[in-house]
Symmetry: C2
């Protein structure tokens, strides 16, 4: 990226993460450290040369580090501590995007893993009191678990542990619910989502 030549924090940030695709690469690594192939899968549409270029630049800037995963010679990419601090800006942009998401997927590709960032970003900005709960999320793709604890909200791949309830919906409606754009009752009356198990737990988690 060519320099803006401005002594301004925003301009300096954009010189690091302002290139096309760059922040989406960070998004993927915020979901989990990953190999090149996983990144290419999680970033539908990216050209392989661009992915390689972005990873190189992010590493040079100190946002990403290459490391050897597991036992052997498998290269893995992960965020540095400073890179991981991009969670704040990214969650902030996800919240800002709510008006852009309500129109639904419209043929765009979707991966359930993206919800691991979006749902906590939307919920934690809106729900103040937290009742601990574990809620399964089925939105198409691998099942997820929304985990509400005293220390915060997170969404992780579901590993078969015990759940208080399970919520099944399409991604757009789950996001709308997390954003508080409509109520759980309305959504359910319209058949947009289904709940199994302890409904009160779901209601508390979404403050709906």
């Amino acid at each position: 990226m060519r320099s803006y030549g401005q002594f301004c924090g925003l301009a300096r940030s954009l010189e690091v993460i302002g290139d096309r695709w760059t922040l989406l690469v960070v998004r993927q690594l915020l979901i989990a450290p990953a190999r090149y192939r996983d990144l290419a899968e999680g970033l539908p549409g990216i050209a392989t040369n661009l992915l390689a270029d972005r990873l190189r630049n992010l590493e040079a800037a100190g946002v990403v580090e290459r490391r050897l995963a597991g036992t052997g010679s498998v290269v893995e990419y992960a965020l540095t501590p400073w890179g991981a601090e991009l969670r704040g800006p990214i969650e902030s942009l996800i919240r800002w995007s709510t008006p852009l998401m309500v129109r639904g997927p419209e043929g765009d590709s979707f991966r359930a893993e993206w919800l691991t960032l979006a749902v906590p970003a939307l919920l934690s900005a809106r729900v103040e009191v937290r009742t601990p709960a574990a809620i399964g999320l089925e939105v198409g793709g691998p099942p997820l678990r929304l985990s509400v604890t005293d220390s915060g909200v997170e969404v992780v791949p579901h590993d078969g542990r015990a759940l208080d309830a399970t919520l099944r919906a399409d991604p757009a409606h789950l996001l709308g619910l997390a954003a508080g754009a409509f109520t759980l009752d309305d959504a359910r009356a319209l058949g947009l989502l289904a709940i199994d198990g302890d409904e009160a737990a779901v209601r508390a988690a979404f403050a709906a």
Copy 2:
């Protein structure tokens, strides 16, 4: 901007504000509504065709609106309510940029008005208890006033009102102080800044 084709809030945000220069245009309008000429001045380095293009796109996206300022036929650009909500993401990126700012200007251009975003972004994330105060800031360029009230922290052009104190420093040191990167005592011992008036007010404002 070409679509990423991903049903993800971050991707959809970047389709609106991800183009080069775009978020810097928003920065300028967050400082104050402005005419074309003011924007060109506040965005050193931008080409006129790009500024016109970005304003067109931002208007089409609903982030910016053109309006007639004052009495007559003078066109002015301002953020829509949704556009103004980009303050959160932008402040978040400014905080993230702290490690990029400590190396100083290095020949980059600087405008005092950029501090009206940066200083509150850094201070309000770090200082919890607020003692109301009005502190003049002299950093090169037009004088500013840091205004601390119960409701928040803001930096505005100084209009000659009464001040509790005045702080003179170069931009990099003021940012370091606002970020808590070093203490007021250290900075002053090194001759990096000077205070006139009520020193305790300055100390309280910066929690130093």
